[in-house]
Structures are given as C-alpha cells and as structure tokens.
C-alpha cells in the first residue's frame, strides 16, 4: 500500500506516492535526489542524516517518509541562499571545519538550529550541541572553531 506525501523541502513543494517503510533519509536522497543528506549508521547514532524538520534537527533515518506529510524540511542544500554560503558554512570553510565531509551536512543542520536558538554560545555549549554528531577526521576542534567564528560574525 502506498502513501501520499506532500512535503516542502528547502522551500519547494513535492508530492510523491511512497511505500510506508521508506526512510525519510532515503526519500530525500533517492526519491528527491537530494544527496546532500548523508547516511551513516541508520540507527540514530552518527548524526550524518540530521535534517531540520519544521526548524528542529532530527535524524532522517529514524522517520518514515509518510510521517512528514504536510511538514517543512530543510536539508544542507537549503542552507545557502542563491549560491551564497550561510555564515556557518562560510566559517566551516575558513577554519577547515571539515576534512572528508561525510558528517558535515548533519553538523551544519544541527548547528544552524543551535545558533538560531543560542546566538552567544560558550565553547561548552557548542560541544554539548555537537555531542550527537560523530566526526572521524577533525577531532572536533576545527568544528568548534567554525561554530565560534560563525556566532561572532552573526552577532555583528
């Protein structure tokens, strides 16, 4: 049995018929072709597939596509505006906040929501907010630097 999903992703409305068991992460990647959302562990641990659902970070591997009917989603593809990187993305580039880039989409979506809620974060706040996203390259220091820099620039 298929289910109709009407969902707004990065400002664009989409309607598709999907199987109930289709994970939201696979819906984004395979049905919509938005491969910026990465899939790591598929059980909610690594954070690579994190997207913003109605503005809040959630694991797209832990939801089924029919569950987002009527919702609004932002993926990493939706963070830049008209080809201009967001302040957070810009700061990641400037401080080398990524190496292989696999974890980056999930970290960018998670920390975009974090900075919106916490405009003047301490390093401890940043590390706490990052705790649900695994990165195997950077040792996290450059990610913390990037988020700190983005917060400073956004405050100006």
């Amino acid at each position: 049995m298929s289910h109709k999903v009407s969902v707004t992703v990065n400002g664009t409305a989409h309607t598709h018929e999907v199987e109930a068991r289709l994970l939201l992460s696979d819906f984004l990647r395979h049905t919509l072709g938005l491969t910026g959302t990465h899939v790591g562990c598929e059980h909610g641990v690594c954070g690579a597939c994190t997207i913003l659902l109605d503005g809040l970070p959630v694991r797209s591997c832990l939801m089924f596509a029919p569950q987002v009917n009527g919702k609004a989603i932002t993926t990493v593809e939706g963070l830049a505006t008209d080809g201009t990187l967001s302040p957070l993305q810009e700061a990641f580039r400037d401080t080398h906040g990524l190496q292989c880039g696999y974890c980056t989409p999930g970290i960018l979506t998670t920390m975009t929501a974090f900075l919106a809620e916490t405009p003047n974060p301490s390093e401890e706040d940043i590390r706490e907010a990052l705790s649900g996203n695994l990165c195997r390259c950077t040792g996290y220091q450059h990610i913390v630097d990037a988020v700190t820099l983005a917060a400073e620039r956004m405050a100006k």
């Binding site: 598929e42 909610g44 694991r59 089924f64 569950q67 974090f114």
Partner: protein, 289 residues
C-alpha cells in the same frame, strides 16, 4: 538496515489507535518518537505488521499541574519537557535527568511515554519515575486503568501494559516543601547510556532530619531498581559524609547490575556507591535551602 514492510496508519484519534491495537494486538506497535523503535525496525529486531503512528495526536502532548501532581501526556517530547517551567519548578528530578538523555536531535523527537513503554533499564527516565513514585495511566478499547511505577516495569524492554493498552499519561506527585532532588550518572561519552545513574529525593522534617528518602538506579538490573533499605535507614537521620557513605554501601548491595562491555558489574556497583553518596549530599543540601 532497512525495515521490513508494514501497514502504516496515522491515527487521527486515541479511539482509532486503540481500536487498531485491539484488532492487531502484539502484531501492531504504536509509533511515538521512534527513537528506539525505528532503530530496532531498521535492524529488523522488530518487525511489526502494523505501525500505528500517534504523532498526530496532539491531545496526548501536555504538561498540567494542580499543586499536588504534575500530569504529563505520553506524547510530550523531551525537548518540550526540558523547556517547561512546571517541570523545572515542580519535577526537578526529571528536569535534572533530561539533559542526560541522548542528544538534542534525539530529544526533539523522543517522548516520555515512548521511553517508559520501551522500558530500557539503562534509560534515565524510568528510574526518575520510579523514584518519584509516579502513576501511569493506560487506556485500551475496554477501558482505563492506573499502574504504579513500581509495578509498571516488568523486565528488560517489558512493561505491565497489555497488548491492547496504550500509556496515555504519566502522573508525578509534587514533592512536599523542604525536599531536594539529585540525578547523577556516569557515561563513557556525553549522551551515551549511563554505566550507572542514580535518581534521589530527600524530604526533611523541621529538625533537618530525613522524613522521606527515595533512591532509584538506571542500568542496575532488569528494570529500574529502587534501594528501599538504604533509603529507609536514613529515616530520622541527617545526611552527612558518614550517613551518606553508610547508605551508599547498603544501596550497592540492593542493586543487581549485569555488567557489560563498558563496565563490569563490580565497577557498576562501585559507581553506584560513589554516585549515591554524592546524590544524597546534593539533594540534602537542596532540601535545606
């Protein structure tokens, strides 16, 4: 790593959800936040034939208080609880435990009712609800009943809920004046399940002696585990290093940790002793404020 096929129904009322569960029993699962169920389905450890999605039932997401109890709708998400002033003021033990539950992205979806129904003995909130002596409200097509927290947790991932029942509300008594609480855990990494955790409440009489103490532990056995002997022994006593240490020794003998890849049972017991002493002293200090 993909779930097996299932029939999906987004419930539009509690009655519809209960009717479906009555029809399909153990073949059906309720889907709340999905932060434990969906991983189990992705691993195919769980293969429900029918998935009854509760997420549209806003009527099950609330926090209400009348001065004596705090009543929490089962679909209330951790994120909401963490930012709720009633929880912060009248259910301080829960407020202290919530930041220890997984990570922000998980707390944005996970629900209190889902957590308790999943009944993972390593989870924080079952120990909190047990320590507070909460009452769990369940409904089925046939009617409603209440279950005391001490009777709710039946084993690893097992509760007293019948196949056709849904946990709808969690009722927590508000602690009397001159009470203090403390929740402390030790985990390998931030947001991981605790190797050991303790939930503690202390209520004092006019002479600063304990009139009521509760201790409950996570990852200390097949269910959240209380330590009634340690708590009872503090009755009528003031809590200081010496009485806290004695209670901690008793509590260590009351818990039944399994040991796991992260910590042996002996180390878990050791942690329980240290955490009990610290939690008792902290809760006592807060009760005297």
């Amino acid at each position: 790593m993909k779930p097996a096929p299932f029939r999906y129904v987004a419930a539009t009322s509690i009655e519809e959800a209960l009717a479906l569960k009555a029809e399909h029993g153990d073949e059906a699962k309720f889907l709340a936040g999905g932060q434990s169920l969906v991983p189990a389905m992705n691993f195919r450890m769980a293969q429900p034939a029918v998935l009854i999605d509760l997420n549209g039932l806003n009527v099950l997401a609330y926090v209400k208080a009348d001065g004596k109890t705090v009543r929490i709708g089962a679909l209330t998400r951790y994120r909401t609880l963490q930012r709720n002033s009633t929880i912060a003021g009248q259910a301080t033990l829960m407020a202290e435990a919530l930041p220890e539950v997984a990570h922000p992205a998980i707390r944005n979806r996970g629900t209190l009712g889902g957590n308790l129904s999943h009944a993972d003995p390593a989870s924080e909130l079952p120990a909190v609800v047990l320590a507070l002596g909460g009452t769990l409200h369940a409904r089925s097509k046939k009617g409603a009943r209440t279950i005391a927290a001490k009777d709710f947790f039946a084993g690893v991932l097992t509760t007293a809920l019948a196949a056709e029942e849904l946990l709808t509300e969690i009722e927590l008594p508000v602690l009397p004046a001159r009470s203090g609480t403390s929740f402390i855990e030790v985990a390998r990494r931030r947001g991981d399940y605790a190797m050991m955790g303790v939930a503690c409440t202390v209520t004092l009489d006019a002479n600063d002696a304990c009139s009521d103490v509760r201790l409950a532990y996570c990852n200390a056995g097949e269910t959240p585990v209380a330590a009634p002997r340690a708590a009872q022994a503090l009755q009528g006593q003031r809590i200081d290093e010496s009485t806290a240490r004695a209670a901690a020794e008793t509590a260590k003998s009351e818990i039944r940790p399994f040991g796991n890849v992260h910590a042996s049972a002996a180390y878990q017991r050791h942690l329980a002793g240290v955490l009990t002493r610290r939690a008792l002293l902290a809760a006592y200090g807060r009760a005297r404020l």
